[in-house]
Amino acid sequence: DQQVKQNSPSLSVQEGRISILNCDYTNSMFDYFLWYKKYPAEGPTFLISISSIKDKNEDGRFTVFLNKSAKHLSLHIVPSQPGDSAVYFCAAIPTNAGNMLTFGGGTRLMVKP
């Protein structure tokens, strides 16, 4: 059973607007969440993370929100740029799992000029 889910396989956004990528999880023992960006034929690149004791973390154009009661997190990109077009993976680390990432299925973001 998939513990981290990204229910939207793709998202299309106009340049300059906000992109919101969503992720749901089922395991309450996850205590750290990360977002990775992946271009075709390349490895994932770390974007931003959040600890389960926080509800928001911001880094430049990227903000991650965590709603523990809903077991939901989201990545906001503002403003979106064509170079942001990639597949975005949500990942989670369980408590005492020693950096063992569980990944969601990914969401392909397309930012149109």
Partner: protein, 111 residues
Amino acid sequence: EADIYQTPRYLVIGTGKKITLECSQTMGHDKMYWYQQDPGMELHLIHYSYGVNSTEKGDLSSESTVSRIRTEHFPLTLESARPSHTSQYLCASSLTGNTIYFGEGSWLTVV
């Protein structure tokens, strides 16, 4: 910026051949990982290591094997490749902490 290198980046080999995918990192990270990703699918952990002479299998069963004789090197070997092994293999590493850094991946096609 992470310094983790994978070779080869792309490889096409015949069924039954033995192949080793190389992974090296220059950051002194003690933890290293191999993930497998089929196109459009999620990444699955197939092997990990917490240090020299430590190797464990991950969530996804794999016929590949790994070794960790040196801190910086974590090669993955398929003794007899099959078409079902066609996939992208991603090596990663981390220090103590929660951020894992990935290499650029090795695309393997078995024909």
